[in-house]
Amino acid sequence: MMKRSVIDILDLSLEEIEGLLATAQDIIANPDKYAHACARRKLATLFFEPSTRTRLSFEAAMYELGGSVLSVTDAASSSAAKGESVADTAKTVSCYADIIAMRHPKEGAALVAAHSAAIPVINAGDGGHCHPTQTMADLLTIRREKGAFSDLTIGLCGDLKFGRTVHSLINAMARYPGNRFVLISPEELKLPSYVKKDVLAKNGIPYDQTTSLEKAMPELDVLYMTRVQRERFFNEEDYLRLKDSYILDMAKLRAAKPDLCVMHPLPRVNEIALEVDDDPRACYFKQVLNGKYMRMALILKLLEVEV
């Protein structure tokens, strides 16, 4: 058996993503069918930086498949603190578990683990680089809320420079025809030119750039809000200046389409006012749940479990 890892959303073909979406939707419809699918299989969650929600999502996913979990929540202060390399950690954990979900602050860490591990590795976030299962959650949310991945005007708002979820979603959605992006950010946090050039321009995907969320709002089918993340800044002053650039509240939402889908990878800080939570257009907690279903589908696929 050739072990397969997922480091980047682009490691999955469109057909494979469709397959995962179909499995996730079948899990939602028939949860009992999957309740013992991964019995006697173990997922190791190796988290070298804290991310409670991603870890819980993976762990809940594995438990709902009837599997068990080996959880390392402070990998950075245990093995890594003793000087163990990521490669050696991956080899060691391969002796105990059947699949690894790894979060690490360094970009490319999951690929290093995948090269060394004898078991599949799922990248649960490698610094500011990739976070494919977040994108899978985003895709299932768009599929369930909008029905299709085509002919949508997708607004991306906030930190488009360091926001890996944004880059990954652009990469994923660029493979479907007819979509248009509206890039809403402060000047300092604009989408990097290589993403614009290598992904948007290269695929002939139309996009507009603006600093005004209000102006962009009426035309959007999907609004993807992001948090300005303190840990991505070397300079605290820059973070403080930019952290509250955009706040979505009911006043701004009044100009939006009635079927707008508001998404956020969470956790939020101030970007979405609490009052928005009760609006039917708020989809960010559904997104969390969708993330669990897609992680279940991915674990099944990588462990080659047929249900």
Binding site: S85, A87, E107, A109, L111, V112, D126
Partner: protein
Amino acid sequence: MNIDAIQNGIVIDHITAGRGMRLYELLGLDALDVSVALIKNAVSHRTSAKKDIIKIDSDIAINFDVLGFVDPGVTVNIIRNGALVEKRRIDMPERLTNVIRCKNPRCITSTERAIDHVFKLTDRKNKVYRCIYCETKA
């Protein structure tokens, strides 16, 4: 200026004028205990344009990836017993292993021990190489 012909060794020819010294350093020729000539701004007999040439008076193993990365289009001539036995035009390699290092401080290569620094060619036309770990441009 005349440099004697070599009997057994390697001539790297058609180096873009000015890139000879970079190649000399990246190929580690300074560490060799054999005669090495680096000729700058030689005039091509064929085109009359300026070029650099490196002559190595020994049949050493050359890292062709370094040549293809720094100056695609150079030619490598292998000389044995005073005669040309092989001539190769060097193109851009698809992958570069341990030729250059990733400069991104957030990349895993900045902390992981014993890791190869690997770059892949992502855009041949614009000669763009990216780190396979963090995708930072070389």
